[in-house]
Every structure is written in structure tokens, then in C-alpha cells.
């Protein structure tokens, strides 16, 4: 069947196979008319800022945008839960004609009085600029009236992909930076950027650093607080996880406040250890390094026996992954390798040229790499490569299941912490739970293979 699925014309150079030479094109807009798995700028800004739990997040526009982003990210807060509500100005025809400024103003004032948030973020969706609303002016006026920071996030959907939205979010967050008191911050202090506390991951990671003797001033934005953002410029180092979304903020902090940053990842044992060592090295205190090594040793010892079990069961299985950012892809390739698995297809929605270079390097020969892919293409490679596991997000899940392939959610909708040392064990468990399910033996492809072990199964595909 796979022979019948072609790579879309115009996309050939966004697909690359290790060992084939040539380059991979990326960083371009999706073709009009394509079934892209990508979202928009608004989505990018919304998911990045949303975990700031004591801020008010209001979506200015017609109702849809607010609904689809309502509490979809499993970012946990240890305190306020305000961010999990959905606030929208629900623009109607009348406002589209006469403007929505008044409604936005009234909404903000009402909400601020009722919930007493620490700050407010106002997200402009597609049409706000077009109907002539001056959101900036409204924010300023409300700010004056209520005494709290009301910050516009300029990210109408058509501005670009999620990446554009990430930048807008960073700009918005940066407005708060530098307004808090940093006098209490110690010399060994860091911020964790791009850590969204999915299923409590930020808490796990924070504990490692605290055990090392390093103070975490702010996690941005997981379990985020407005006041932490205000004083985060007082930290001595920024560790940037999920490079795609937060590098811009890190750069701003570096430029304006001289806080250097390093890209790290907390997925997988190797990367987590490397991140702890990087911080220790930065501060140059041998005691820190010693403690980091102790922690790594201790934590790995704790999980190794069980990890070995999983490895035994998963060895030789083949994985495909299609995730948002490239950094996550790197970590996943390594983590899968640690489980004895092989990555045969790796792709991202928004990787940059630099990212793909790195990805090419760490992948095995024969691995297919795709940029901004679509269901047909993904299905093609999953079948061609006879994949056992697909790692992706909500739109990929049912495709994998239709093909009779196990699936692991590694996106922001998951509810299980996959970061850090314990996370690696959870990850192994997740993968095993799905890959080792007896159901895949009933998948038609596998049944055909069982009957006819030598030949590859062929199905007619009507796509």
C-alpha cells in the first residue's frame, strides 16, 4: 500500500533520509491547502503563558479560540487555579462592526474586580487588528484604573506558526521582568525556562537543584507566578528547556540583565544528568558538582533495575516520533536508544535548520527525518518502516491506532511526568504499556505477517 502514498509535490525537500545526502528544507510556511499538523501564532502564545497561575488570561475575539485552548495543557499549579478557567470577550457581529474595545474594557474591569489577579494577559486573535481595536490603549487604561499590569499579547493567528506566538509570549512576559526585588536571591540561583510543569515535572526538577544547593528563582512558566517573573532577572543563570518557546526570553534576559543561558533538556537520563552538571560547572563550585554527581548516581541506581526489565522487553522495537520542537526530538531519540529501541522516523512541526543538523547527527543511518509533516506522509513511513511505536500529539494518536501501531503521547496533553530520572521510568512504562499490549497482534498488518512471515503485507489503499 505504501507505494500508493506519495510525498506531496513541493514537499520532497522537507523529507530527508539519513545516508542519502542533500539537505532538509524547513522553517517555511505550510503550503496553502495542506493538511498540516501545525497550529497558529495565537496558540503558541497561549500555551506558553497559560501556566502563570495567578494571572488572568483573557482571549479577545470570537468564542472559538478561547474554547479550544481551555485547560488543554496539563500544567499544574501548587496554588491558584485561576488560569484553568476560560475567559473570552465572545465578540458578536455588533462588535465586529463597531469595535470591541468597550467590551474588552468592561470585561477586564469586571474580571479584575472579581478575581483580584496579580496581572492580566490579553490575547488578541485574528480579527482584533482588522476591526480596528487598539488593545494596547485599552490595556493601558485598565491598568491605570485597577492598578495591576494588563499586558497585551500580540499574536493574531495569521502572523505565523506557533513559533511567532512564542516570541509574542516572551515579549509579554518580559514586560514583568525587572519589576521585583532581587535582594534576597543568593549567588547560586537559576531560572528554569520553558518548563511548563506538565504533570508536576517542574517540581521534580526543582527538587534536584534544591538538593544540589541551587535556588530556583522562577520556573517559566510552569506553576508560574507573576511575582517570580518580576524578580527572575536576579538569578545568575537561565536553563532553557524546550528551546523553541523560550529562547527569545532567555536572549532578552541576557541582553538586558546580563543573565547568561544554556540550553538543556530533562528528558532521559543522560540529558538530565548533563543539565545538572552544566549548572554545577557554571557556578564553578566543586561542592555543587559533587552533590550533582551524588544525585545522579543515587537516582539512577534507584531506577536501574526496573529500567533493565523494560529494556529487555522493548529491545529491538522500532519507533517513529513527530513532535512540536526539535529539542524534544533529540532527547527522545536518546531516551528510546536507552530502552534498546530504534528511531526510524523523526519529525518536528517547527524545527530550524540548526536543529535538523543536530537531529541528523544523532539519528541512526536510514532514519527518515521530516519537517511539517501530514497524516499521509506519516502513515506512509510508519508502514514502510514497520514501526512498533508512534510518539506524537493529539492529531497523530488516532492515525497510529488505525494503523495498528502503539502510541505514546509526548505532548502537552499528557498527564504523566516524563522528565527527570523518575520520568525516564515513567516513559519506559508508558512505552511498554502501549507497545507490549496484546492488541497489536490482532492488528491486520501483524496478523498477515504472522500468516506470511516472509512477505511484507500489502493492502490496497484508497487514499
Amino acid at each position: 500500500m505504501t507505494a500508493n502514498i506519495h510525498i506531496l509535490p513541493g514537499r520532497e525537500d522537507q523529507v530527508w533520509q539519513k545516508g542519502s545526502g542533500g539537505n532538509l528544507a524547513c522553517d517555511r510556511r505550510s503550503l496553502a491547502g495542506s493538511v498540516t499538523q501545525r497550529a497558529c501564532a495565537f496558540c503558541g502564545s497561549r500555551v506558553v503563558l497559560y501556566p502563570i497561575a495567578d494571572a488572568l488570561h483573557i482571549v479577545h475575539g470570537p468564542i472559538g479560540c478561547a474554547v479550544y485552548n481551555w485547560d488543554i495543557r496539563g500544567s499544574l499549579s501548587s496554588g491558584p487555579q485561576l488560569h484553568r478557567n476560560s475567559f473570552s470577550t465572545d465578540l458578536q457581529e455588533k462588535e465586529v462592526i463597531f469595535g470591541g474595545e468597550k467590551k474588552l474594557h468592561a470585561s477586564l474591569v469586571e474580571l479584575i474586580q472579581y478575581y483580584q489577579p496579580k496581572a492580566a494577559f490579553v490575547y488578541s486573535t485574528c480579527i482584533v487588528g482588522l476591526i480596528g481595536d487598539d488593545v494596547q490603549a485599552v490595556c493601558k487604561a485598565v491598568s491605570r484604573e485597577t492598578g495591576i499590569d494588563v499586558i497585551p499579547v500580540e499574536s493574531p493567528g495569521f502572523k505565523g506558526t506557533k513559533k511567532t506566538g512564542y516570541q509574542a509570549a516572551c515579549e509579554a512576559a518580559f514586560k514583568l521582568v525587572g519589576t521585583g526585588d532581587t535582594s534576597q536571591i543568593g549567588p547560586y540561583s537559576i531560572n528554569l525556562l520553558g518548563e511548563f510543569n506538565i504533570a508536576g515535572e517542574a517540581w521534580m526538577i526543582k527538587r534536584y537543584f534544591e538538593r544540589m544547593g541551587i535556588e530556583v528563582v522562577a520556573t517559566i512558566t510552569g506553576d508560574g507566578r507573576v511575582d517570580d517573573l518580576r524578580r527572575c532577572h536576579g538569578a545568575k543563570l537561565n536553563l532553557v528547556q524546550c528551546s523553541g518557546s523560550m529562547t527569545h526570553l532567555a536572549k532578552r534576559l541576557d541582553e538586558d540583565y546580563g543573565v547568561p543561558f544554556q540550553r538543556v533538556s530533562f528528558f532521559g537520563l543522560e540529558d538530565t544528568a548533563r543539565a545538572l552538571y552544566a549548572a554545577a560547572e557554571f557556578f564553578g563550585d566543586p561542592a555543587l558538582m559533587e552533590r550533582a554527581q551524588e544525585i545522579v548516581y543515587e537516582e539512577i541506581a534507584k531506577i536501574t533495575p526496573r529500567l533493565k526489565e523494560y529494556r529487555k522487553r522493548l529491545k529491538g522495537k522500532k519507533a517513529a516520533l513527530y513532535v512540536g520542537g526539535a529539542f524534544k526530538a533529540f532527547s527522545l531519540v536518546l531516551a528510546l536508544r536507552a530502552l534498546g529501541m530504534k528511531t526510524v522516523l523523526a519529525g518536528t512541526q517547527t524545527g530550524s535548520a540548526e536543529d535538523y543538523e543536530q537531529l541528523k547527527e544523532i539519528c541512526d543511518p536510514g532514519t527518515v527525518i521530516v519537517d511539517d509533516s501530514n497524516p499521509l506522509e506519516l502513515a506512509k513511513f510508519v508502514l514502510e518502516k514497520d514501526v512498533d511505536l508512534f510518539i506524537g500529539g493529539v492529531k497523530e494518536r488516532p492515525i497510529a491506532f488505525k494503523l495498528g501501531v502503539a502510541f505514546c503521547d509526548h505532548n502537552h496533553e499528557r498527564k504523566i511526568p516524563l522528565a527527570g530520572f523518575e520520568g525516564m521510568l515513567n516513559f519506559a512504562e508508558e512505552v511498554a504499556n502501549s507497545v507490549l499490549s496484546p492488541i497489536w497482534r490482532f492488528a491486520p498488518r501483524r496478523m498477515a505477517q504472522a500468516l506470511n512471515p516472509k512477505e511484507d503485507s500489502h493492502h490496497e489503499c484508497n487514499c
Binding site: 500500500m1 510556511r29 503550503l31 496553502a32 491547502g33 495542506s34 493538511v35 498540516t36 501545525r38 497550529a39 497558529c40 501564532a41 496558540c43 475575539g61 470570537p62 468564542i63 472559538g64 479560540c65 479550544y68 481551555w70 485547560d71 487555579q81 485561576l82 478557567n85 476560560s86 475567559f87 473570552s88 470577550t89 465572545d90 458578536q92 457581529e93 465586529v96 474588552l104 468592561a106 469586571e110 474580571l111 478575581y115 486573535t125 485574528c126 480579527i127 482588522l130 476591526i131 493567528g157 505565523g160 497524516p375 499521509l376 502513515a379 493529539v394 492529531k395 494518536r397 488516532p398 491506532f401 488505525k402 494503523l403 495498528g404 491486520p444 503485507s457 493492502h459 484508497n462 487514499c463
Partner: protein, 458 residues
């Protein structure tokens, strides 16, 4: 998560808190998926399309395919003509659907793109293959709700495709409204059992509940076919279920092809299913087969068996108007008391209908269109109820109200699987609803009753 909600209902002039609706295009997309070999196309920014696909996928747990015009900054200034033309060209070359159903978004509506003109030009310029079809519908998100989008897509499809050949056929059109694939299957089963020839439109069964085959089909087997869509103009009658979702389409067909429209409520619950079966009986001039009579009998039997547990139980409901009207009627019919019924979709008619239905049992019922879940939550804080029914978002209200019994009903359901497999329409669907209601009550008792009060037999 909603612990902060206070009971004092505040006047809100301007905003929506925890909405009980969403935007038009997602409804259009769902309806278009119910057409065989059709590619829904979202004319706007990439995000809209991604959202709608994701949300439908979360609800149906199925791949949902749709294309987007991928608007850029330029398109927002100069209009989306170039994007749509390129898109159509690409879609037919690459994905080869039989038909493309374009719907607009906030952005293309505000820009004011003239879609029919763009389609005509694309056709003239050879961007659309001769044997392929492109239709469109307008779905501005600042008007109505997702339900409106569904209705618009249905009506526009008919406008473009249905024809009358002058010869009326012995076929009835069934417009099921926005119900689940399992419901559409059940409606077909019932119509078949009554011995009628029918065309169901839209039909998402075998599209969004397809079996695992081991391969991925961009266009699954199901869906109303283009031939059927055309032939609907020759049917002798249309039975349109759910006024908000189906009436516009039925009226369009009546106007266009003289097919008389009969509008009934969604066949959810006893009375509404009776009305549906009766409509089929009259239309087909047939008598109701024993098989269906027995189904009904079993439902009535279960209602009687359990009636003591239903008596005057207060219920809060939210969701979409068509669903709520039938459900409210059903609750009244089994002896329960709808206390507050809320939809996010605007429309005063809805409020009137709910008041009519509850006139005898609860004249004080609160019926609100264009409202939201936050309002409902505040209201039940002051006026406690025994049961909450609504989509997945209701669970936060249920938790905040000390595990108020809660039944998932409507769209979207993101955290359960039953709606994919079992219908809520028809007598069988009503049985399932009763099971859910009694389970919710009994589970609560089993959890909370003191040892000496725990009942073995209920």
C-alpha cells in the same frame, strides 16, 4: 479548579466565563465529514483548522482531516483569494477528494472574501478538475455558535448539489442533526426496520467510527454520497431532526426542490423517539413493526421499574439547544425536575421551548440561551440540584460541588469513550440514558451511605 466560584451571581455585561458553545467552523467541518469523499477546507489561519481537527479528534478519537488556506499577514491585508486558489489547486493534485467543502472563519469573514467568485475563477482557470466539486458555506464565528455552523454547512450543501429531476421517488430524507456516528447508525437502523428507503444527510457513521483495518484511509467508506445529495431533491419528504441543526437545510430543500419538510425534535428520550417513529410511520404509510414496539415497551418498563428514584430529582443541564430540548422533555417524562437549562448558543426560542416543556412540573425553571457554565455553576450553588448533565467541562463543576452526580452528554466529551459506541437516540439510546442516570444516583449512595444503610437491592 472551580473552587473560587462564588454563589453570588454577579451582573456581567461583557464577557464569557467557561463557555457552553464554540465557533461556527467546527460545526461546518463536522457536517462536511459526513459527506463521502469530501475534504473540509478551512479558509483562514492555520490555527482554526488545527483547533477544529484537534477538538473533533479528542471527541471522536478518530483521525480528522481538513485543509487550511494558511493565511498570512499578506492575506489579512489583500484578501485570501490567492491562498484559496492555491489551496484548491493543491488539494486536488495532492489529496484527490471528490469534493471540497470550503467554510470561512472569523478572519476571512471580516476581510470579506467573496468565496463563490473565487471558486468560479478557480474553475475557469482550470484549478479545479472537471469532474470535481467545490462548495462553500459562510461560518462567521461572531454569529451563532458551532451549531449554526453545522446548520449552515447542511443548507449550503443542498443549495449547491440537490436537484429535482421532476420525478418524485419513494425515498425519505433524514436529517439527523449534530449527533454521534453511533446515533446516525441507530437512526438508519430504525428507518430500515420501519421498511423505508431513506437518504441520511450528513452521515458520519463509518467516517468517524471506522474500524481498525491496519491502514490509513484519508476518505473512509462512510458519508452521504454525491449521488445521494443530488437525489435528495427527488425524495417525497424530509424529516429534519433538531430545529437548530436541520431546519434550515430542510427548508432550503423545500424551496429549491419542493420536497416537503417536517421538522421534529432530536429523537432523544421517549416522547421525541415516539414522534420520530410516528413521522416515519406516516411518511412511509407503514405500521410500526412489533420489533420496535417491543423496544419501546422495554423502555417504558424500565422507567416504571425505576420511577421512584427519578421522582422530582432536580437536574441542571447545559449543552446545545436541540439536545437540551429533547433531554428536558425526557427528564420531565420520567418524573424528574429540570431546574436550570443553559446553552451558549443564542436564541430566545430555545428559552420558550424549555418553559413550555416544564410548564407543569416546574414553572420556575431557569432557561437561558447565550449564557455559560460559570453562570450555571453560580446558580446551582444557591439552588442545589441532584444531577448535572453536560459536556466534559461539567466535571469541574461537579467536583467543586462535592461530587455532584454528573452525566456526560453532548459535545465535546473528551474523557470517556461510550459516546463513540452507543447511541443516545431512539428507545435503545433512552435505555442507555436511564442506565446512566440510575448509575449516577446509585454510585453516589454506595459511596456515601453509612454501613447500616447500604442497600444490597436497589
Amino acid at each position: 479548579m472551580l473552587e473560587g466560584t462564588t454563589s453570588e451571581i454577579r451582573e456581567r455585561k461583557a464577557l464569557r466565563v467557561n463557555p457552553a458553545k464554540t465557533c461556527q467552523p467546527i460545526g461546518a467541518m463536522y457536517a462536511a465529514l459526513g459527506i463521502n469523499g469530501c475534504m473540509p477546507h478551512s479558509h483562514g489561519s492555520q490555527g482554526c483548522c488545527a483547533y477544529h481537527r484537534s477538538q473533533l479528534t479528542r471527541h471522536y478519537k478518530e483521525p480528522v482531516v481538513a485543509t487550511t488556506s494558511s493565511f498570512t499577514e499578506g492575506a489579512s491585508v489583500f484578501g485570501g483569494m490567492a491562498n484559496l486558489t492555491t489551496a484548491l489547486d493543491n488539494i486536488f493534485t495532492i489529496y484527490d477528494p471528490k469534493m471540497v467543502a470550503v467554510h470561512t472563519t472569523c478572519l476571512s469573514e471580516v476581510i470579506g472574501d467573496d468565496i463563490p467568485m473565487i471558486i468560479a475563477k478557480a474553475k475557469k482557470d482550470g484549478k479545479i478538475p472537471e469532474d470535481k466539486i467545490v462548495i462553500h458555506t459562510n461560518t462567521p464565528s461572531f454569529v451563532g455558535s458551532h451549531v449554526t455552523g453545522f446548520s449552515n454547512q447542511c443548507a449550503s450543501t443542498i443549495k449547491y448539489l440537490s436537484k429535482s429531476s421532476g420525478e418524485t421517488k419513494n425515498v425519505v430524507n433524514l436529517f439527523p442533526g449534530w449527533v454521534e456516528p453511533a446515533d446516525m447508525r441507530e437512526i438508519k437502523r430504525l428507518a430500515g426496520a420501519m421498511g423505508l428507503d431513506y437518504i441520511l444527510f450528513p452521515d458520519t457513521s463509518d467516517v468517524l467510527d471506522s474500524p481498525q483495518t491496519g491502514y490509513y484511509k484519508m476518505y473512509p467508506d462512510g458519508g452521504t454520497t454525491l449521488e445521494q445529495l443530488e437525489a435528495m431533491g427527488d425524495s417525497f419528504q424530509t424529516i429534519a431532526m433538531g430545529p437548530l441543526c436541520s431546519q434550515a437545510a430542510a427548508e432550503q430543500l423545500e424551496k429549491q426542490c419542493n420536497v416537503p419538510a417536517k421538522v421534529i425534535d432530536l429523537p432523544i428520550g421517549l416522547k421525541a423517539t415516539d414522534a420520530f417513529i410516528d413521522a416515519l410511520r406516516v411518511a412511509g404509510d407503514v405500521s410500526v413493526p412489533e420489533e420496535i414496539d417491543k423496544e419501546r415497551g422495554r423502555l417504558v418498563d424500565m422507567i416504571s421499574d425505576m420511577s421512584q428514584y427519578f421522582h422530582q430529582k432536580k437536574v441542571a443541564l447545559f449543552g446545545d439547544p436541540d439536545h437540551l430540548i429533547s433531554m428536558t422533555q425526557f427528564l420531565v417524562d420520567v418524573g424528574m425536575t429540570p431546574a436550570i437549562v443553559v446553552t451558549g448558543t443564542p436564541g430566545k426560542k430555545f428559552e420558550r421551548r424549555i418553559h413550555e416543556i416544564c410548564a407543569d412540573t416546574n414553572p420556575d425553571v431557569v432557561a437561558l440561551a447565550f449564557s455559560d457554565i460559570h453562570y450555571l455553576h453560580q446558580w446551582i450553588k444557591q439552588n442545589p440540584v441532584d444531577l448535572l448533565m453536560g459536556n466534559t467541562y461539567g466535571k469541574f463543576v461537579a467536583r467543586a460541588e462535592k461530587n455532584l452526580p454528573f452525566i456526560r452528554f453532548g459535545f465535546p466529551i473528551l474523557d470517556r469513550v461510550g459516546h463513540r459506541a452507543f447511541p443516545t437516540v431512539g428507545y435503545a439510546g433512552a435505555l442507555r440514558l436511564l442506565e446512566k442516570i440510575t448509575d449516577a444516583f446509585f454510585d453516589l449512595r454506595d459511596r456515601n451511605d453509612s454501613d447500616e444503610n447500604v442497600e444490597l437491592v436497589l
